[in-house]
Amino acid sequence: MLKYIIKRVLQFIPVFFGVTLILFLIANYMPGSDPVQMKVGEKKVTPELRKQIETEYGLNRPWYVQYGDYLYKLTKGDLGISISTGRPVSEILSEKYPFTIKLALVAIIFEIIFGILAGVISAIKQRTFWDVFVTLLTSISVSLPVFWLGLLLQYFFGIWLKEKTGGAFYLPISGAEGALPTWEYYVLPSLTLAAVSMAYAARIMRSQLMEVMSMDYVRTARAKGLSGRKILFSHEMKNALIPVVTFIGMDFGAMFAGAVLTETVFNWPGVGFTIYRAISARDFQVVIGGVTVILFAVMIINLIVDISYAFLDPRIRFTGSEE
């Protein structure tokens, strides 16, 4: 197991260098990558001002020197300074990540509970009203644009309901006041963020469970006289869950990159919009810093997901393992 983890971490090294190198090359050679102009706006940047900013932000150095500097600073946990705002990138990201993670966690819980539950219901109640209902709902959910779903929820829970109940019941439609927003603030954005994945999780769960249900060992268990519930939980679910866990795990990793649309519609102070805005402003320090954090997060989450297989399926053994 340890060997496996070490191997996975070693595999991460070329990924890390590959991604960051490409970013540095883009930052330096992509046409239009001119953070100084973007900082100034539509006005002409005088050569003097350009020189001043490039000197202070170290943009006048060759890209490989900048890259070396980035690597050196990274070892000290320093991600550089944002050109557009003059703030330390690590400060910007550490401000946004708690919000991104909190939202992702709630969304994942929605995904796990409702996605899996819906999949199980429609698999065990095949070709009934509930099966059709879940299939229909997941089809709608997958095909709805995220921002549109967000807007619908905002209008329904934030405006319509507030008016109908005379302000007695409604949900906040945007923002996250303070460091620890109250639960109401999470409902709509996390539902929106989880909507598509919840539908996929339900569909994967349904098809996997149906496949497992037709397996010989399930028939054997039934012949043994085990109860339906016992079969479902100790035999069918365990095997059917593996692809679902993979999917949800990957999804959780992806959420670390932030959710630009959901964050925009709900004005959530997360990392996705920050990186998006940095890209528009050609603020590469923030982009590279953000991507670095995402790289590490995704690596760790993927590793955890892979390891969790072993618990779900005893047949899975990691290469290099002595057991």
Binding site: P31, G32, D34, Q37, M38, K39, V40, G41, E42, K43, K44, T46, E48, L49, Q52, I53, E56, I81, T85, G86, R87, P88, E91, E95, I113, F114, L117, I121, F133, L137, I140, S141, L151, L152, L153, Q154, Y155, F156, F157, G158, I159, W160, K162, E163, Y170, I173, S174, G175, A176, E177, T264, V265, F266, N267, P269, F273, T274, R277, S280, R282
Partner: protein, 565 residues
């Protein structure tokens, strides 16, 4: 199977949301219009902004940060919200230039204090201004040098070049005659200088707070996150990035104290979300969402002057001091003919662009100088209008009747920012008189490089006024030495006239000079002004006398909030 029920409730809620979303919303638009009540003290106003880049005035330039800066800082002068040609005293009680407008003496208000109670003196202005100009000025958030992008405001002050070049740390032209007398020597005559110093970023800053940090709850906070100024409001707590900036009434303020207790600048990523919040009753002032102007006017009523919000007259559609114009390269071998330029300008149906692309939130430009600028006159540029017959005639006068013999022109623009729709209409308008064009679009920096290189023929740019004076348009856009003159218009008579006008210390006489210069420039159509920007903002029904000026600055000093019952 309790869980199943929970799922059902959720599923039903989603389905209901689809079904009911079409129902729309009704807001309390039935409030009576007009107010006659006397102002009431109290209440906090919430105000939409995007995340500012800086709120430390040394580097605040974009509209977002400026709203906050002008609430917490007062500059030497200010202008009347409704008539920007009227200069008013602010931190300076009075000012006087010498005979050729090279030395300015500002007498400061002796009651002016920073929010922490320390008096504002001439040295606080000198410190603030040197901070702005010195490229080695440290950003208080990082402790590292961060050159200000707005140093140019003080470009006329003696010693500016030396400080910019790193040869000196302080501008030689700034002198504190005594605590309350600031003397500014300029390197050339500039009679509009009192307008320049109204810029919100040119307020005083307290040296101690900048260098040691600001006390907040027993901790030191960087000045950049919690600036201390001399304005009507002060920061209530440090800037919560991407969430909010809260300011409260400054009891040490020397001027008329605001009625409201404070302003919550709520930070949104997107004006559409802010407008949804406004509709839900959670925001007092915001931009109107795209495509919803008519809807907002119907629901909330329209302000009578375009700039003031009162109950029932809440949508603001007044013109802003900014212009969108078509660049015509005056050095191009085809476009150097003034008749071709005239034909282009006359061929463009500006009203159609404003209506089709902007739902009436822009106003056709009748010259390069927008309303709201001191000396603005209607119809200054005779050819800045839609007259297809006159356009055809001008093209024929140039020897290209119906476009015959005229080479295809290239219309360049930046691909971001939604300019393509405007360019398509312009392209069709030009085609109607026989001028064929092709598009060349690129990302913004690449596009600007092209404009710098002079290899363009037609292009676009916008210009937003820093100060409400004609100089602020005519010099940058048309002076032969200006870096922002992308049409390469070059007329020594105009260059000289602008310089001469800035020696005229009498305000009305100077304005008259600039009006003449503006007309002269307009006669040769060096650019084709397309439209002026307009407000597309709305305030809530509880706001009274809230003023959002043509300069895009909110006046929180006069607004009062109707108390809720």
């Amino acid at each position: 199977m309790r869980k199943r029920n929970l799922f059902l409730v959720l599923a039903l809620a989603v389905v209901m949301a689809f079904a009911l979303a079409g129902c729309g919303s009704k807001t309390d638009s039935t409030k009576k219009s007009g107010t006659s009540a006397t102002p009431v003290k109290g209440g906090t106003m919430s105000y939409y902004i995007g995340e500012p880049a800086y709120i430390d005035p040394w580097n605040a330039q974009e509209t977002e940060g400026m709203q906050v800066v002008q609430a917490i800082f007062d500059s030497l002068t200010t202008v009347d919200d409704k008539d920007p040609s009227k200069l008013l005293p602010a931190a300076a009680d009075s000012w006087e230039p010498n005979a050729d407008a090279t030395v300015w003496t500002f007498k400061l208000n002796k009651n002016d204090k920073f929010a922490d109670g320390t008096p504002v003196t001439a040295n606080d202005f000198i410190y603030a201004w040197n901070r702005l100009v010195n490229p080695k000025t440290k950003n208080t958030l990082t402790g590292k040098a961060d050159p200000s992008v707005i140093a140019y405001h003080l470009g006329f002050v003696k010693g500016y070049d030396e400080v910019q070049a790193g040869k000196a740390k302080e501008m030689s032209g700034l002198k504190a005659v005594d605590d309350y007398t600031l003397e500014v020597s300029l390197s050339q005559p500039f009679a509009d200088f009192a307008y320049v110093v109204m810029h919100p970023s040119l307020g005083p800053t307290p040296k101690a707070a900048v260098e040691d940090g600001v006390d907040y709850n027993g901790k030191k906070v960087a000045f950049g996150d919690m600036p201390i100024g001399n304005g009507p409001f002060k920061m209530a707590e440090p800037w919560k990035h991407d969430q909010y900036i809260k300011v409260v009434r400054n009891d040490n303020y020397y001027g008329d104290k605001p009625y409201i207790d404070g302003v919550d600048f709520k930070i949104f990523k997107d004006p559409e979300t802010a407008y949804t919040e406004f509709e839900a009753g959670n925001l007092d002032f915001t931009q109107i969402g795209e495509g919803k102007i008519k809807d907002a006017e119907a629901k909330y009523g329209t302000s009578s002057d375009g700039y003031t919000v009162n109950p029932g007259k809440q949508s603001l559609l007044g013109a802003e001091t900014s212009v969108y114009y078509l660049i015509i390269n005056n050095k191009d071998k085809t476009l150097k003919d003034p008749n071709v330029r005239k034909a282009i300008s006359l061929a463009i149906n500006r009203q159609a662009i404003c209506d089709i692309v902007f739902e009436g939130t822009r106003e056709p430009a009748d010259g390069i100088v927008p309303p709201g600028i001191a000396g603005y006159e209607k119809g200054t540029w005779a050819d800045s209008k839609y007259d297809i017959e006159a356009a055809k005639k001008a093209l024929a006068d140039a020897g290209y009747a119906n476009g015959k013999g005229l080479p295809t022109l290239e219309l360049a623009f930046n691909s971001d920012g939604g300019h393509e729709k405007i360019m398509e209409l312009i392209q069709a308008d030009l085609k109607a008189i026989g001028i064929k064009t092709t598009f060349d679009s690129a990302d913004f920096p690449t596009y600007l490089k092209k404009l710098d290189s002079g290899k363009h023929q037609l292009g676009r740019l916008g210009w937003v006024a820093d100060y409400p004076i004609e100089y602020n348009f005519l010099y940058p856009i048309f002076n032969s030495k200006s870096g922002d003159n992308k049409s390469f218009y070059s007329n020594t008579a105009v260059d000289d006239a602008i310089e001469a006008a800035e020696k005229v210390t009498d305000g009305d006489a100077r304005i008259a000079e600039f009006q003449k210069i503006n007309k002269t420039i307009g006669e040769s159509n060096p650019v084709a002004p397309i439209m002026f920007y307009k407000h597309h903002h709305v305030g809530s029904a509880r706001l009274n006398d809230f003023m959002f000026s043509a300069m895009y600055l909110a006046n929180f000093q006069k607004v009062w909030i109707t108390p809720s019952k």
